[in-house]
Amino acid sequence: MAATVNGKLAQVVKIIGDEVTLQVFQGTEGIPTNAEVVFLGKAPSLKVSDQLAGRFFNAYGEPIDGGPAIEGKEVEIGGPSVNPVRRKQPSELIATGIAGIDLNNTLVSGQKIPFFADPDQPYNQVMANVALRAEADKIILGGMGLTNDDYLYFKNVFSNAGVLDHIVSFVNTTENPPVERLLIPDMALTAAEYFAVEKHEKVLVLLTDMTLYADALAIVSNRMDQIPSKDSMPGSLYSDLAKIYEKAVQFPESIGGGSITIIAVTTLSGGDITHAIPDNTGYITEGQLYLRRDSEIGKVIVDPFRSLSRLKQLVAGKKTREDHPQVMNAAVRLYADAANAKTKKENGFDLTDYDNRCLDFARDYSREILAIDVNINTVQMLDVAWTLFGKYFKPEEVNIKAALVEKYWPKA
C-alpha cells in the first residue's frame, strides 16, 4: 500500500503486529520523528490510456516533459503475470537488422533477453538502434539510473527519427534517489500491459540498467536488517527479477494477439558473469547477448560466441529461409576456426592456406554482416554469407547439407 510521510511518497514493506515498516522512495533524510503519515489506501498506480504514447515520465508515473497529466484508467502497478496455460508459444520473429541478433540469435516476440555488457560498451546505443529498427507497435523505455546524457541521447534519437509517437519512457536518472528506481520496471510493464492486452499491440520493453535496479533492492534489504545473500544481494533477488522478466508474454490469436518482449541491460563488473545479478538473470531469461569490439574491423559486434537466444530455433528456418540454421552455424564455426588461426599467428607459427582463408572470411563476415551499423534483412544476411563461403571456401569445408549447397552456393 502506498502512503506519504511528510508528503514524501512511501510504500508499506512489512507489517508485524501493529508495527508497520514504510519504505520512503526519496530516502528518509530530513524526516522528523513526529512526521505525518497518510495511508493512501491503494498501491502505487499508473493512469493508462493512449495518451501515454510519446511521453516521458518519472518513477511515479508523473510527466517530466512539461506536458499535461494523463487521463485514463488508474491501474495498480506490479500486478500478476499471465498464467502459462493462457499463453502462446512465441514463434514470431522480431527483425532488428542487426545480424548478431537476427542471424545468429534471433529475437522472438514474447521473449525476455538481456544484454550483458561492460559499462564502457555502447549498450544504450545498441538498445536505441534495436528500438528504432524493430517492427513493434509500441516501445516502452524503462531507464533506471540513466545518466542525464543517456536520457537526452534516447530522447534525441527518438525525436529525430520521428518515432516519438510510439514510444513511452519512464526515466529515473542517476541523481534521483536510488530506491525510486524500484518502481520503474513495474511502471513500464503496466504501460506495456495496457497496449498489449487492451490494444493487442506488439510491445517492446527496454529496461536499462537492471544492475542499478538490483543495487537499489540491496539498499532496501540492508535497511530492513535482512541477512545478505550472495554478493550482498537480497535473498529474494531471483524472485524479484523473475517478477519483472516473467511479464514477457505472447497472447494467442484467439484473444486478439498482442505481445510483450523484454530486452534488458545488465552491466557487469569486469565481465564477471558469476556475480549474483547476471547469474540470477541468466536463470530467468531466455538467453543473453554480449557485445564485443572486433579489433579486426574496429567496430562493435554482437559476440557470436557467448551470445545465445534460447528461442531462436522456434523461428530459424521456419519463419526465415530454410538455409538459416545451417548457414548460421557454419559461419560461426568458420569464425571459430579463424579465432584459432589468430592465436596460432600470435604465437608466431606459420599459417596454412585454410587458416588464412578463415581469417579473411572472419574479417569480411564481421564487417559485412556482424557490425552493428550494418542494417540488412535476414535474406540479405544469408545471401552475403553464401557469397563469402563461395569466395573463400570449397563446399566440403563448410559441411552444409548437399541439397542446400546445390541451391545456394554461388555459381562461378
Partner: protein, 298 residues
Amino acid sequence: MERTIIIANTSNMPVASREASVYTSMTIAEYYRSMGLRVLLMADSTSRWAQALREMSNRLEELPGQDAFPMDLSAIIGAFYARAGYVYLNNGATGSVTFLGTVSPAGGNLKEPVTEGTKKVARCFYALEQARADRKRYPAVNPIDSYSKYVEYPEFEEYISKLIDKDWLPMVNDMKTYLQRGKEIQEQINILGDDGVPVDYHEAFWKSEVIDFVILQQDAFDKIDAVCPLERQQYMLRLVMDICKHDYDFDNFLDVIDYFKRVINLCKQMNYCEFHSAEFEDYRKKLDDLLAEKQIAA
C-alpha cells in the same frame, strides 16, 4: 503427450512452490513406479531449485553457507537423487524411476555448491561446454569430461552385449582413447605449431575430428540427423572406427587436413540422408573410393 505429465513452476511463482516442484514430480513418478512402470523424470533445472532453497534459507534467517546456499544443500541434493532407482515391488514385479537433472553453474564454473553436491551423488554426468558451443559443435557435451559409471557394471556389460553385441563397449572405449589422444595432440600443436609435430600426429588428431564431427555432433535443426536410432549409431560407429584403425599414406600435414575434411564432409552428408537410402549408399560408395585412395592395406 498421453504419457507425459508436466509440473510447471515459472520463475515468478512463489518461492515455496518452486522449491516443492521437484518433490511433487518425484512423488508422481514414484506412484507410477509402484504400478510397475518405467518412469523418466526430468528436472530443469536443479540449479533453480537450489536458488529457491537459498531464498528460503535466507528468509528463515539461517546463516548462509557457501555462495549463500543453505549449509545442508549437498545433503538435500543427495537425499533427492537417492529417490531414483530400480525397485522390486511386493508382487515381485519391478519398476523404476530414472532421474535426469540439469545443473546450470554460474559462468560455467563446475566448482560451485550445486554442481559439487550433484556430482557426489550422480552416477552419470554430461558436461556441457562453452568452448564447444562457441564452435557450434552441438550437442555441446564434452566427450572427455563426461562420464557414465554404469558402463563399468558387469550387469550392464552383459546387458549391452545382448542388446547390441559384445564388441560395442570395447569399441566405445577405443573411441574415447582416440578422442583423448586427439585432444593431447591438439595441445601439442598449439605449443609446437603444425610443423613442430610429425605427420602421423596430424593423422591421429584428424581421426579424432572425424569421430567428433560424424559421431558426436548432430544437427537438431535437421529432421533426419536430429534422431539417430541405435542401429544407425552402430553402423556409423563401425564405419568411423574402421576409418580410424587404418593407416594412411600422406606426404605432409596439409594433405592430411584436406583429405580428412573431405572424409568428414561425405560422412556428414550420409548423416543427413535417410538410413540406407539410395543417396546414403551413394555417399558411402564415394567415401569408400576416397578411403581406398590413401589407406594402406593392413
